[in-house]
């Protein structure tokens, strides 16, 4: 049982990293990306590649994964600088679909749909980490550090600039904000931190394939942010925990037909999205109930 709970907790913390980093651009910068799974994937594949060919050292694999995601994220920054709202959502959607095709086709890097098998256990300064509780500790520390970084950022001048751009881009421009640099920086940062989640995921599962990095994942993470509450620190964490626990809890409801669990789970979160948007657009953890954006 403990191992099962540890397993769930590891997955929750990985997804919490994703939702926290996505919230950084959705909630604070107003960049509604549906391509977060792309950077999750790039982080995972890069870490796997480094671990299998160079070294499974945490302090090598994770920075390389972050760098790879940061560089690729410029592709997302490009439309983010040009357009907003529905145009950007569509552009990020485009990027996500393109990335899935590339992940499936670039077999030397990703193994295609077959994926990458046998990713070695991660080592921290030469000490291998494979026991579930060690791994949980490591991912929790990563999560805490990332939350810390984001918490600090949103309370500094950079965070204020982001929020200013989110609320009114033209006014931010008129007040001397270099919108280009600020937006690019936020996208790069968010993507690089999402890559940490990807690397942890790859090490934990020791197997990754494209199915973990598709549009569904982007939507799931977006749902975590929205349901939990945008522009809050706690919201995305709560959202990640709720949505990751839901399938497990549902399997214990013996009166539900097993074959419908997957559908019921999706219906529940679809309904949650609808009802929240009607009655509480700020999400469950909303700093200002009733007030959306």
């Amino acid at each position: 049982m403990t191992a099962y709970i540890l397993n769930l907790l590891v997955l929750i913390s990985v997804y919490a990293i994703l939702s926290t980093t996505l919230n950084f651009i959705i909630g604070y910068a107003g960049i509604f990306s549906l391509a977060h799974a792309v950077f999750f994937g790039i982080g995972g594949y890069t870490a796997a590649l480094v671990a299998m060919n160079v070294t499974p050292e945490f302090f090598v694999a994770i920075p390389v994964a972050m760098a790879a995601a940061a560089v690729t994220s410029l592709l997302l920054a490009l439309p983010a600088l040009r357009v907003r709202g529905e145009y950007f959502v569509a552009a990020s959607l485009g990027l996500q679909v393109l990335a899935v095709t590339l992940f499936s086709e670039w077999k030397s890097f990703t193994g295609g749909i077959g994926g990458v098998i046998g990713i070695p256990a991660v080592e921290m300064l030469g000490y291998p980490i494979y026991k579930p509780w060690q791994f949980l500790l490591m991912s929790l520390i990563c999560l805490v550090i990332i939350i810390g970084i984001i918490r600090i950022l949103v309370h500094t001048s950079f965070g204020r600039s982001l929020k200013a751009i989110r609320d009114s881009e033209s006014a931010a421009l008129a007040s001397g904000k270099n919108v280009t640099v600020i937006k690019t920086l936020s996208v790069v940062l968010s993507s690089a931190l999402a890559a940490v989640a990807g690397a942890l995921y790859a090490f934990y599962m020791s197997f990754i394939n494209v199915q973990s990095f598709m549009l569904d994942t982007s939507v799931l993470v977006m749902a975590m942010v929205i349901i939990g509450g945008t522009a809050t620190i706690l919201g995305p964490l709560l959202g990640a925990a709720l949505l990751m626990l839901m399938p497990s809890v549902l399997t214990y409801l013996s009166f539900l037909p097993q074959t419908e669990i997957g559908s019921i789970q999706q219906i529940v979160y679809g309904m949650a999205m609808v009802l929240l948007m009607i009655f509480r657009p700020g999400g469950i953890v909303s700093s200002h109930p009733g007030g959306g954006k």
Binding site: F32, L78, P79, R82, V83, R84, G85, E86, Y87, F88, V89, A90, A91, L93, G94, L95, V97, L98, T101, L102, S104, E105, E169, S170, V219, M222, I226, E260, S263, I264, Q266, I267, Y269, G270, M271, A272, M273, V274, M277, I278, P281, G290, G291, G292, K293
Partner: protein, 290 residues
């Protein structure tokens, strides 16, 4: 010859995309509601058509009516009971989008639970191709789909330019205040927009059910394509959406000349991505950056 065949296939697929995209574009253009659940409307129409025809054994005309009514009712209900309350309190683009997306997820899974998750298609001799010239095979469905799309567009054009409601809808996209001054309620026009926009998915849904077949995720795919077409064509421009839908259908198929099918979706979205970066206003759209 392969080229011609692919072009013919592309035109049929493109006609269906064009109609669906036009529906989305009409709704989005006039009400500014990002109706992502438009794909769900498509799936519902397709499934109910299939069910009425093969499950209940209706005559095809009744099955078409069932599909049309269900699509319109679904669209209007969403407008009245979901979008209207959201818009009442400061409904931003994203709030609407998320709710709409949620509906899409719910519908997809409900359809899966009720009708099964497998692939279904309406058995019809119309989908059988005949060789019209060496190497070029066309099915009656090819012609019907294209013809039906043309008729729909002519009718739509007439409606928008010659009827009171149609003119109101066009005015709504330009200036909601003006509409109010002319004594039309934007709320009521919004209902018309949803009814009409939803109706436009019906031909596509029926041809898909009879041709390539449907599964619960079909709406999702169609929605992605119509979204791409709407933006490539220019938001708010029906003409643009239609042209772009056609373009995407053709591009998707012509791509198969040299590449595997796994690239077809990527090609659509590559077109979209580049349009957004280099010409966000699309073919015919007004410049509406930021």
């Amino acid at each position: 010859m392969l080229f011609l065949q692919l072009l013919a296939n592309g035109l049929q697929v493109g006609a269906i995309y064009a109609l669906t995209a036009a529906g989305f574009s009409l709704i989005f253009g006039s009400t500014k509601i990002f109706h992502f659940a438009h794909g769900a409307t498509f799936a519902i129409a397709a499934y109910l058509f299939h069910f009425a025809l093969t499950g209940l054994g209706f005559h095809w005309t009744f099955a078409v009516a069932v599909a049309a009514i269900s699509a319109v009712v679904f669209g209007v209900v969403l407008d009245r009971f979901m979008y209207a309350p959201i818009q009442r309190h400061e409904g931003s683009f994203f709030t609407v989008f998320v709710a709409s997306f949620g509906v899409g997820i719910v519908v997809q899974n409900l359809l899966g639970s009720v009708f099964g998750r497998g692939f279904m298609s309406v058995p019809t001799p119309l989908s059988n191709s005949v060789e019209v010239m060496p190497g070029l095979y066309l099915s009656p469905l090819n012609g019907l789909a294209i013809g039906c799309a043309v008729i729909c567009f002519v009718a739509l054009h007439y409606f928008l330019t010659h009827t009171f409601v149609g003119k109101g809808l066009r005015a709504l996209s330009e200036n909601p205040e003006l509409v109010r001054m002319f004594g039309l309620s934007p709320r009521r026009l919004s209902t018309y927009a949803f009814a009409l926009g939803s109706l436009l998915v019906v031909p596509g849904a029926i041809f898909t059910a009879a041709g390539t077949g449907i599964n619960p995720a079909v709406g999702h795919h169609v929605m992605l394509i119509s979204l791409a077409a709407t933006i490539v064509g220019g938001i708010g421009s029906l003409r643009g959406a239609a042209c772009a839908g056609l373009l995407i259908g053709v591009a998707e198929n012509l791509a198969m000349w040299k590449l595997g099918t796994q690239w077809s979706e990527a090609i659509t979205f590559a077109i979209l991505f580049f349009f957004i970066i280099f010409k966000p206003s699309g073919f015919f759209g007004r410049a509406t950056v930021s």
